[in-house]
Symmetry: D3
Subunit: 218 residues, 6 copies
């Protein structure tokens, strides 16, 4: 599996994956445009490990507010990607330098969340790919906590199940469900070749109409 991931990471783009998901009828697999990489030069490619957050308004004495979060990160395998469904509240930054350090030490491929991220300069220095809905300093303690691990979630409009292929680059994050993974990747590898021919023809000044008629790609 790792070899496949390496190939995908090297050859593919979120846009071509999105097009090929569209072609097989999966049209809601790209996360909303609010989800951005901390570092646009990094590519994220791995298998989802999901966490579902609940907004809370209290941090009871004696309760570890990070219990399930710690459990997930300590359980990460190589090429896995924590995917945090924090919802629309924008109240918390559940990910930062320390979790990035721990996740990277376990070989995780990166992290995706619809919450905020903090310690962003340190994370960028680590070259660890993090995609988030914004940047902010607020800790999750007393604001949100993990309610369940490895359950199906929706993050920024895309459904994610444990084990789904998660791919992120400068254009955004796309989720490829298991059921169509092989088909979508094969189609994407083929499409990339056609795009190269199209690009060259266009750069030579050929008419778009002609090139599109020939290659069917835009």
């Amino acid at each position: 599996m790792t070899q496949t991931l390496a190939l995908i990471r090297q050859r593919l783009f979120s846009s071509v994956l999105s097009d090929c998901l569209d072609a097989v009828g999966y049209r809601n697999q790209a996360m909303h445009a609010g989800i951005r990489p901390l570092d646009e030069s990094l590519v994220l490619c791995g298998r989802a490990r999901t966490a579902l957050y609940v907004d809370v308004y209290d941090a009871p004495e004696g309760e570890n507010p990070y219990e399930l979060e710690i459990q997930l990160v300590d359980d990460l395998k190589a090429d896995e990607v924590p995917v945090f469904a924090c919802g629309a509240s924008g109240r918390i930054a559940p990910w930062g330098e320390l979790l990035s350090t721990a996740a990277k030490a376990r070989g995780a491929a990166g992290t995706v969340m619809d919450g905020l991220t903090r310690d962003v300069r340190a994370i960028r220095d680590m070259k660890f790919p993090v995609f988030a809905n914004g940047i902010g300093p607020l800790d999750s303690k007393g604001r949100g906590k993990v309610a369940a691990l490895d359950v199906p979630v929706e993050v920024a409009g895309a459904r994610v199940a444990q084990g789904d292929l998660v791919f992120g680059d400068a254009d955004g994050v796309v989720v490829v469900p298991r059921a169509v993974e092989a088909q979508v990747i094969a189609a994407a590898l083929a499409k990339v070749a056609g795009e190269n021919a199209t690009r060259e023809a266009l750069a030579r000044g050929e008419k778009l109409a002609d090139v599109f008629r020939r290659h069917g790609i835009l």
Copy 2:
């Protein structure tokens, strides 16, 4: 005309153009702050070619979903700027590397849209100025298509007609209607000189109150 555009591109800024539009009573000519350049170091200056999009929810077999888009790009002249009115839905990224390649080959000055853009790293490498409402991988096929070309539109709060001067830099995008173009450009060139004197006085530590009384610029 090209000489004028070169002069504007070299000497002016979106902020001074916005101030001079304000001064002649055109107060809604700056696009909303959501419209950002892919590359803040590039300046866009050219004549608008407008396209009006309609959200669609279907891509009928046998229909070319890009028909009018292709027609517009193939028809671009030097210094023209495709301006895409995609509306508030945020569902599509109608512009990417291939259209940038084709537009650049025809001498277009850049592109502006209130939709998303994709292939952003490749577009930045081409040094082609693109201003958009965000970044995302979703193709327009089955989500949106061009309903009309070269009609008056509104993009991010600013009205744009075919042939209007469109100027974009790191501060945003401003549209200068034909009716006031000569007047606004003359005023802007004059104001830029006054700003230089103001800046120098302020850098020397003079009181803002005194400098503003003298130059009337802030």
Copy 3:
């Protein structure tokens, strides 16, 4: 006081300040994630001077629309930070290169606003820390003006009073009220040390659960 500010600027982060404010029950001191630095490499640390804006729809002849703004900037002392409460309208860019030049000449530590900023490339060249809710070219004249100076305001969800410590870095802006300043800074300096130990343990691959049990930091 300046020595304390220098120490804070050098050693602390917005995230650790936010955590220590949380710990003493001040849980709304971080501005919303929309407030971003023009330059993520700069740190802002100083004392707030507040300005309260009112949206206007008219610029009467013979009235100086910048009167109180000029008064505030001309009155700035070293290490002060103009904090502009412009509200939710997003109609104005009250800060730009000229005000940055004047503020910097008086030793101001930076500026924070929930309005837009313009002339952003020039401001970045000056290395003057500006945090704003976006970038746009629209002048405040006829759109907004200062209604009061040095009154308590709310900016992007955080209450700010004159003299409050304002701290901004790549993760956002945090406001430390006078009443808890000494306590929060002491706690933050202590927490930073613990974070270093935690980070090193995690980088070595230790279990998060163990490290968190030992240091109590995440």
Copy 4:
């Protein structure tokens, strides 16, 4: 068909239809809560005739801005329901008293739109069921026009195809796709009976836990 519609109108509710759609895996068939009836006492039940709108910014001389709208209304059959997909702009009120009069004269069952409606007091007096995203006086001329008739659309989050069953009451609007219509209606008729038994048990003060265990309905 008309008999079935009469039975549905008489016996069913939007909430029970929504539950039964959920049960067969169609979980996005209820329109958003912004879509409200002008008159909560009326029930709408009929077959969708869809119209897709495009926002426009101009009304060219000599063009009939209502051409396709008129064509759709003149073509309405008994029990049909014009469903207008106007999108998120909130700029137009495409429906009013005159179109209601014409539609009612042809036996239409009501109208649904995500745009605004006007002449609401007159429409209420006619007892014609109209569901809209708000009320406002702005005509569509120069703001929006129909781009296509009888194509698949999305209205307030629900997909609607020509001929789909559209049901609206005080709780909102639900769309039942052809593919599951028979199954969903049969299940809904059965569920309504169970709800009556549940309601009676609860009104007698029985424990919810016991009643839910017995009937499985909540």
Copy 5:
């Protein structure tokens, strides 16, 4: 003047006024759909008296927070309409039963605001027409205060100057500027007659296409 107002109140509607404003090129005179009447059966028709609010975050001791508000209401003449521009914050309910009582006692024609209103049941009992952006109990003290009276403002997207005709009914609020008032009212009175003929033809079942061709009204 009062006679004209009585005629307008009796014969016209917000929708026909909006259409006639459109026809003379004033296309932003209808307030957004969020502005609703407390009582849909009442018609508001009068001359605007404007108040511009500023959001505040403090109520200094010894300051009368309602000073200008009281001044405006005490100064109201017959058929005048207080129009409050409170902005987008949604934090205050500046109008309630007591101000309604005072305004009604002076013969005011009603009130319009983009803030909230409170004491709504009492106001409805008084049959005093109030149009607001919602209902809520929060007093303006320490949240907002009037910064200026009788200045041009924008309320829910429509520009309002002192003396402008303000018309509200169940379909919303329309503002008719002085410059086009006579022209718009004359056109509206004429259009109402045509609408009656159109309605009757449609109710008889005539084709919309034919009726529209004959009357040009929809």
Copy 6:
């Protein structure tokens, strides 16, 4: 306690409670204006029982999705008020006719939620006071479930703890924390008397300025 509640229900209003909470420095106790009563003629007054919801995207086989919801309703005592914190997603209608029936049978005083409500016509017929953020048919199964009971929550901007006094009428919902309950109620009962005198003076046409000087109430 029940006697006190009866007195409050009879004599007080949400607006006067809000003013008196303001006066003792509790300025965020009114829920946002989106929270509306199903029936504006009903008054809700009781003690909060809180439920915290988490958005879910799955309904696992064999799990009772309503478990804690049922537990809360079965445990309701006279004059208690279920308060549901469903968050900003707007995806679910957790309350309907059956839960209203069960809650009413136990003597509950009403229900408040920032989610949607369904079966609204039946609930109105029962004269059971329900305040919600909208109306919609979507069941909570597979969309949201209760994560915790009787914990502190925030609902539409107001903090609510178990046992807090919750008061709702046509103007909205106000939460009175235990710590200031006696003080706020005493002040509110006193203020209501002053409002009566003010109202009468204003109805006689006295100047607001004079009446406000005399009574200090607006």
